[in-house]
């Protein structure tokens, strides 16, 4: 690896207007450097991996060329002459509260007051490449023994050594506090961090042996430090990406095809040329956009532009869609576990139980439609984007623009909550293409319809479960087979065609690689909770799952989706958990066993079992089989249900008890109470964890009861909030009780997607308890509940 400190690089990847705007915002790069003492250095591509934390984590594709090397302390921390600390992180604020927690982490490790730390996140001019901020990975990545936390520990030890040299006192006789190091026996002998290193580089690698501060000494981590952004949010001062304004900025709107698969025939530019404020029509293959002086003018021009498209390529009928998925050919088959004795065990079983579950496509449905600002001039570009991965976006936006990635700067600027891959990346391509075409900064905000009709939806799913029970009603074999449609996803480092704008300008989505039959697994992977919690999870003889059932098989069929798909909060894990946790409940009912006791009987993992017990205990769970005795077949009936998950097998543990009231005459389900336990290892900020848990619980409830994407034979028809229903703010939401288990000595795991994962099954199980009717398809609309009630007569 070669390093070259360069002064000429200053502002290299910034257009003049971008620079001017940054200066106006008080974030001039030169001033910033002067203040923080950081030096930005250029690096050759080095293939170093940011460590992912020790619990299960998503595949990380390696550090992008040009990103600060993750093994260097100066990539993470800088101390200015005044002793203030700047920390750089690749994990950004999406509304989940991770910025306050990361600031606590650095203040804690460095022994400085909270307000002396400034956290800079996700700007390709400054910050390390930590992949996407997604998948409940921020807590494990940055709060264990690598990356940001290890940088904090390394810096504290380095400062202690410097102080030892300066004061002539051994390190073990020194203590750090409030940004200074003093002699334990004589606190008047002290030296501040600013005096030790202010404005200079550490020039050292991250020390894997540097000791994190033990949790018993924490004074900031583990406390409910308040978020510093809320005053600005509550008073309308906060700058979202929607509010970025550059001098001379124009406004764009895109014109998407009217149907899935439609391609461009012709555009009549004359239809809008005389409109007020009109600047340009931009066409690139199937991408069409307009640019105008003002947003309302751009909106009118987009509406009035005459565009001819071919008809769409046609869509499968929604009424038969789940059957269509099961019959898809080709498929890509993956075996996660296979003990090879499942059929044999089933043939010996006293009873074999089967059930099939269905889950629809659902939307991110961000409150604010996605927006981005781009300033592309000549061979330089600056992009303001709410992307979850600035470095990846830099790489794929460069492909879309036909530019070199090193000439792009991507600045993460907060958007509306995304919950996964919403329109943030695609609208950044839109803005970049339009800016490139007019040579001026352009802001684009999608319409509600453009956002919803072309999302990378959360996956639809067909999930089959089959289990064999012995004469004591113990589960002796579990077989799970699912059909999962996918198309596109996050663009990653090199696939802009994974999202709509990339496809429109000519890139292709990740190719579908058919594979049948599935090869035998060679190493264990939970694969987004494809493996049920109750099986042993053995590959090569070593059980790595969370359950006791030894006879096991899990087979996944990926099939081609007619619609874009991509991660939506608890992607795939939520759908798998709905099926597994409904099915264990069906088995418990068959065994006439209490659903909590029956779960515990088949689990082998103490933390998951503890999560189940915590939720049950807090809910005053009444142990008895479901359905409850003495159900009357009409009117209101109440019941309770349990569900649990070890998120991705080892990235957080949660269980929920839902109490519902079912109107058996109308099929309406009202959720009255939700008790949820969460265990994410050490709790870094209890109020942040509570906020995420509460929000996930209600979002999960909306998805379970109401949300379903719809289409006709040509196009998506759920394109606004009247055609895609979600629970409004004013609904009578249930009482929510959060039970947080703090485990300071364990590894930090994911937290933000725990509660949402268990909601659908907890509610479905409660409906069963209340009525005896089993509902196996999300969402649980009154019509579906009525149909399920009718089935049991």
């Amino acid at each position: 690896m070669s390093e070259s400190v360069s002064k000429a690089e200053d502002n290299a990847a910034m257009t003049p207007k971008a620079l001017a705007a940054l200066k106006r915002s008080g974030f001039s790069r030169r001033d910033f450097l002067k203040h923080s003492g950081a030096l930005i250095v250029g690096f050759s591509a080095c293939g170093l991996g940011v460590e992912r934390g020790t619990v299960h984590a998503q595949v990380f594709q390696g550090v992008s060329p040009g990103a600060p090397p993750p093994d260097r302390l100066d990539s993470w921390i800088a101390i200015a002459a005044d002793g203030s600390v700047t920390a750089y992180t690749g994990k950004e604020e999406l509304g989940q509260g991770i910025v306050v927690a990361q600031t606590q982490l650095i203040a804690e490790e460095l022994c400085v007051p909270f307000d002396r730390v400034k956290l800079v996140y996700c700007d390709t001019a400054f910050t390390p490449d930590q992949g996407y901020t997604s998948g409940s990975q921020s807590h494990p990545a940055n709060f264990n023994h690598s990356n940001l936390s290890q940088a904090g520990a390394t810096a504290r030890e380095a400062l202690l050594r410097l102080a030892s040299d300066r004061l002539g006192v051994p390190v073990d006789q020194l203590s750090a506090k409030d940004g200074a190091i003093s002699v334990k026996s004589d606190s008047s002998r002290k030296v501040s961090y600013g005096e030790l290193i202010g404005g200079k580089k550490f020039n050292m690698t991250l020390d894997k042996n540097a000791k994190r501060k033990p949790p018993r000494e924490w004074t900031l981590l583990g406390t409910p430090v308040r978020r510093s952004d809320i005053p600005a949010l509550a008073t309308g001062q906060f700058e979202f990406v929607h509010n970025v304004r550059l001098p001379g900025m124009l406004h764009g709107r895109v014109v998407r095809p009217p149907a899935v698969g439609a391609t461009l025939v012709s555009v009549d530019e004359g239809s809008v040329q005389n409109l007020p404020g009109f600047v340009k029509v931009v066409v690139k293959k199937n991408f069409v956009g307009v640019v105008a002086q003002k947003p309302w003018q751009a909106s009118q021009a987009a509406d009035k532009l005459k565009v001819n498209w071919t008809p769409g390529t046609g869509l499968p009928s929604q009424a038969d869609f789940y059957e269509h998925l099961r019959n898809q050919n080709p498929t890509r088959d993956t075996l996660l576990v296979d003990s090879k004795d499942v059929e044999q065990q089933m043939s010996h079983a006293a009873t074999v139980v089967k059930a099939t579950y269905h889950h629809p496509y659902q939307m991110h449905g961000s409150m604010g439609s996605s927006c981005a600002v781009a300033d592309v001039q000549g061979d330089k570009a600056t992009l303001w984007s709410a992307t979850q991965g600035v470095w990846y976006l830099r790489s794929t936006a460069a492909m879309v623009l036909g530019m070199k990635p090193e000439n792009l700067r991507v600045i993460f600027t907060r958007g509306s909550g995304c919950y996964g891959v919403n329109g943030a990346d695609t609208v950044t391509y839109d803005a970049a293409l339009l800016s490139q075409a007019v040579g001026k900064p352009v802001r684009v905000q999608l319409t509600r319809k453009d956002e919803m009709a072309w999302e990378n939806y959360g996956n639809a799913f067909v999930l089959e479960e089959r289990a064999g029970l012995d004469v004591q009603e113990n589960i002796i074999a579990w077989d799970h087979e699912s059909w999962l449609p996918t198309l596109g996803s996050r663009p990653g480092t090199g696939t802009p065609g994974n999202i709509i704008t990339g496809l429109l300008v000519g890139f292709q989505p990740e190719p579908f690689a058919a594979r049948t039959p599935a090869p035998d697994p060679t190493k264990y992977t939970n694969n987004s909770n494809g493996v049920p919690s109750y099986v042993a999870g053995s590959v090569g003889g070593t059980p790595q799952g969370t359950g006791a059932i030894k006879s096991e098989r899990v087979l996944v069929h990926n099939v081609i989706s007619p619609f874009w798909t991509g991660p939506l909060r608890s992607p795939v894990r939520l759908q798998n958990t709905f099926a597994h946790e409904s099915f264990i409940d069906e088995l418990a009912a068959r065994a006439k066993a209490d659903p909590v006791a029956y779960r515990l009987r088949h689990l082998s993992h103490p933390r998951l079992s503890d999560a189940v017990k915590s939720a049950a205990s807090a809910a005053n769970w009444d142990p008895r089989p479901s359905p409850k005795p003495g159900i009357r077949k009409t009117g209101l009936s109440v019941g309770r249900g349990m569900a649990c998950v070890a998120y991705e097998g080892d990235n957080g543990y949660s269980a929920m008890v839902a109490e519902v009231e079912v109107d058996q005459d109308t099929g309406k389900v009202s959720v009255k109470r939700m008790v949820v336990s969460v265990d994410c290892g050490p709790i870094s900020n209890p109020d942040g964890l509570r906020n995420q848990t509460e929000g996930g619980t209600l979002q999960g409830m909306s998805r379970a009861l109401m949300e379903e994407m719809t289409w006709d034979d040509q196009k998506v028809t759920s394109v606004d909030w009247s055609s895609y229903r979600t629970l409004p703010f004013g609904f009578a939401f249930p009482k929510i009780e959060v039970v947080m288990t703090n485990r300071p000595e364990e590894e930090a795991t994911g937290a933000g997607e725990l509660s949402i994962t268990v909601v659908a099954a907890a509610i479905a199980n409660a409906i069963f308890d209340a009525t005896g009717a089993r509902i196996r398809e999300v969402p649980f609309t009154p019509t579906r509940v009525k149909a399920a009630l009718k089935q049991i007569g």
């Binding site: 809320i230 909550g417 906020n691 996930g696 979002q699």
Partner: protein, 155 residues
């Protein structure tokens, strides 16, 4: 295009606008205000909410012509970071936000309603809030913040 005078947060602004321009565009583009936001452009989510003559109004579907001469209050017209309005302070106290994009909808709608109905019951507040959305589902603490404001007003 014609000259239209809008009275926003106590100040008059004369703007050259197509009279059919939705108020939201004048506020967020011409006046560069950050409180009212474009969420759907269809009057369905409430992100664009402002208060006109004491009423919560969806500025994305309200033409500027319809409100010229009226006092228009936006989220930034209530209070500042240094001196927040009591309802804004209630949201800060309750840490009632996740992404925060919907705060404009929730705060402006709740304020307009509670100022007219200070003794509203929980059910009445819920009914008044049934036309706005929060996709992070920060309902628990946002509702607590609204109640905190209501209780402070009742004192």
């Amino acid at each position: 295009m014609s000259a239209i005078t809008l009275k926003v947060n106590g100040n008059n602004h004369t703007l050259d606008l197509d009279p059919g321009t939705p108020l939201l565009y004048a506020l967020s583009d011409d006046l560069e205000l950050r409180g009212p936001k474009f969420g759907c452009g269809l009057g369905q989510c409430g992100s664009c909410m402002v208060i006109v003559k004491g009423q919560a109004v969806r500025s994305c579907i309200t033409p500027v012509e319809a409100v010229k001469g009226n006092e228009i209050t936006t989220l930034e017209g209530l209070g500042t970071v240094e001196k927040p309005h009591p309802i804004q302070q209630a949201f800060i106290e309750e840490q009632a936000a996740q992404c925060g994009f919907c705060l404009n909808a929730i705060i402006m709608t709740a304020k307009a309603f509670l100022d007219k109905n200070p003794k509203a019951t929980d059910e009445q507040i819920q009914a008044a809030m049934s036309g706005v959305l929060c996709r992070c589902f920060t309902h628990v603490r946002m509702f607590r913040a609204i109640k905190r404001y209501a209780q402070e007003m009742a004192r």
